[in-house]
């Protein structure tokens, strides 16, 4: 909020800042995520991400130099500490982002976007979610689209990230009236309608944390 230094190169430190902000966010909103998951799932989404992000922050205490190495560590840590649906999904997100980022020690806007997009493709490859299935995809996809068009329109990284965070929040809210077609919420049939998807809510936190880290 009105930060003085504007980030234009996403270094390992900035990425760690993002992860750290996300860890704080899932701690702060863990009960809320679990409450959403109580309504249409199994009441563990908050606990899952708290466990995962605590493990991530421990794993990146002395971060490697390359962004790809850092993100790979994040992905592997999530895969091996979270479990459930969100573990492989968020894990795959970071693993694919790691591959896209490679040896680079810092990412510019287009490189960051490419990484995020690769990550989202990973989620789709694992979970086969489509738009409107009421999953994290419904927050992430519009967020990356907003990120992309902001950059295309010449926005700063910080502004693009803020636009993405806003779109993610809108995407999260848009899951409320949806009928779930993926994950446990789909077992509820019509009863899934009227509740925000917990994964979409955590994804909105992920994008919000990114915007914070880039501001």
């Amino acid at each position: 909020m009105g930060s003085l230094s504007v980030v234009e190169a996403v270094t390992v430190d900035v990425l760690v800042g993002w992860l750290s902000a996300f860890r704080d966010a899932v701690h702060e909103h863990g009960a809320y995520l679990t409450e959403l998951d109580s309504a249409i799932g199994d009441a563990d989404h908050g606990a899952n991400l708290i466990r995962g992000m605590d493990a991530v922050m421990a794993a990146v205490a002395s971060p490697p130099e390359a962004t790809g190495d850092l993100l790979k560590k994040v992905g592997m840590t999530l895969v091996t500490s979270v479990g459930g649906a969100s573990g492989p999904l968020y894990g795959t997100f970071f693993l694919r982002m790691a591959t896209a980022s490679g040896d680079a020690t810092s990412l510019d806007g287009p490189a960051l976007l490419a990484g995020l997009e690769a990550g989202l493709e990973g989620i789709v490859a694992r979970g086969k979610a489509e738009a409107g299935d009421k999953t994290m995809y419904d927050a992430l996809a519009p967020a990356l689209a907003a990120f992309s068009s902001s950059l295309d329109g010449g926005a700063s990284l910080a502004d693009a990230a803020r636009a993405a965070a806003g779109a993610a929040a809108a995407g999260r809210d848009a899951t409320e009236p949806m009928l779930a077609l993926k994950g446990r919420a789909s077992y509820l049939g019509e009863r899934s309608i009227g509740h925000i998807d917990p994964g979409a809510a955590s994804s909105a936190l992920l994008l919000d944390s990114l915007a914070g880290a880039l501001s």
């Binding site: 799932g41 009441a43 479990g83 459930g84 649906a85 049939g189 009863r191």
Partner: protein, 332 residues
């Protein structure tokens, strides 16, 4: 929240300590959270691994032992285990004949086991096959792409397929049998109360005194619909009808399980089974074997589920074969 625990974070680690202390014929890998037989099976036999979130005990750790599983991978409460656990267990239990992964159909379980299979094949060259159970008739299959949940049939499958592996059948045969058992089993569950996930600290849903949930799974999730509380006979009908409507069970011997959700005492489970047995008899289903008790639970949820498996002489024979686990034990 009233639970016999030290802290929500320590539930799994602490429970594994107790399992370890209580069962000298099990070996617990506390780091990977895997429960093994203390004495591995003989070389050349197919090994069976199952696993999933915790909170369903005795499933799966209580079914590790001669005649059933070789290892169970324990996830956090209601959270599937991670691929590294399954990968570790896979390489430990392999006796050179390959490993069958028994996975209940939940997005998380399927994805984690999938990743484990990829990792195990890449790392150690162990041949892994997977059977995904999906017997819950509460979920309308076609419409929902996540498919039906895997519930009660998993218990029966682990017993029957475990016996087949013990006989020395190869991985293809074991996989075929597993798929056949899954394909011939149907389940339906109901809840009188929600359960409380330790980390959540309060009941997953509120259920008024005069209502119950029909068509629940095993994760404390709300069911397909909330209906007025009814007597045992009517509840039995609501459980049995959709099962019989989904598959024709006449003309074959059946194996029937009346399962408790964890918070329902045995006297009620027996009472429910009496009602279910009456309905099955009326419908011409011949019950050859019966199991009544808590076998696949949902923490402290009050409720019950019915599983009917259309069997045949071979399946009955495998069912009757010796089994020596904490949760099922006979013929030894």
């Amino acid at each position: 929240m009233k639970k016999l625990i030290n802290s929500p974070e320590a539930v799994l680690a602490d429970a594994l300590k107790g399992i370890d202390a209580a069962h000298p014929d099990l070996r617990v890998d506390h780091q990977h959270r895997v429960i093994y037989r203390a004495t591995p099976k003989a070389d050349g036999k197919v090994a069976l691994i199952s696993g999933g979130g915790s909170g369903h005990e005795p499933l799966h750790g209580g079914f590790v032992g001669p005649g059933m599983l070789d290892a169970a991978c324990c996830g956090e409460v209601f959270t599937s285990p991670t691929p590294d656990q399954m990968q570790e267990a896979t390489s430990v239990v392999d006796r050179g004949a390959g490993v069958l992964h028994i996975v209940k159909n939940y997005t998380g379980d399927v994805m984690n086991f999938e990743m484990a299979g990829e990792m195990a094949a890449a790392d150690s060259g162990v041949r892994v096959e997977t059977v995904v159970t999906d017997d819950d008739v509460a979920v309308q299959d076609s419409t929902w792409t996540a498919g039906r949940r895997g519930v009660g049939v998993t218990v029966l499958l682990e017993k029957i397929v475990g016996a087949a592996a013990e006989e020395g059948r190869d991985l293809d045969a074991v996989l075929d049998l597993a798929k056949r058992v899954n394909g011939q089993g149907r389940s339906m569950g109901m809840a009188l109360t929600s359960c409380t996930v330790p980390a959540a600290g309060k009941p997953t849903f509120d259920l008024p005194e005069d209502q119950m949930e029909m068509g629940v799974g095993i994760h404390g999730e709300p069911g397909r619909r909330r209906v007025p509380l009814a007597g045992a006979a009517e509840i039995a009908e609501q459980l049995v009808d959709p099962i019989l409507g989904d598959l024709d069970f006449t003309g074959s011997p059946s194996i029937v399980m009346l399962n408790g959700m964890g918070g329902t005492p045995l006297i009620e489970l027996y009472l429910m089974y009496g009602e279910v047995a009456t309905l099955l008899e009326k419908a011409g289903v011949q019950v050859a074997r019966t199991l009544v008790g808590n076998y696949i639970t949902s923490l402290d949820m009050a409720g019950a589920s019915v599983t009917v498996l259309k069997a045949d002489d071979e399946l009955i024979r495998l069912w009757d074969a010796p089994v020596e686990t904490a949760g099922l034990r006979w013929g030894v």
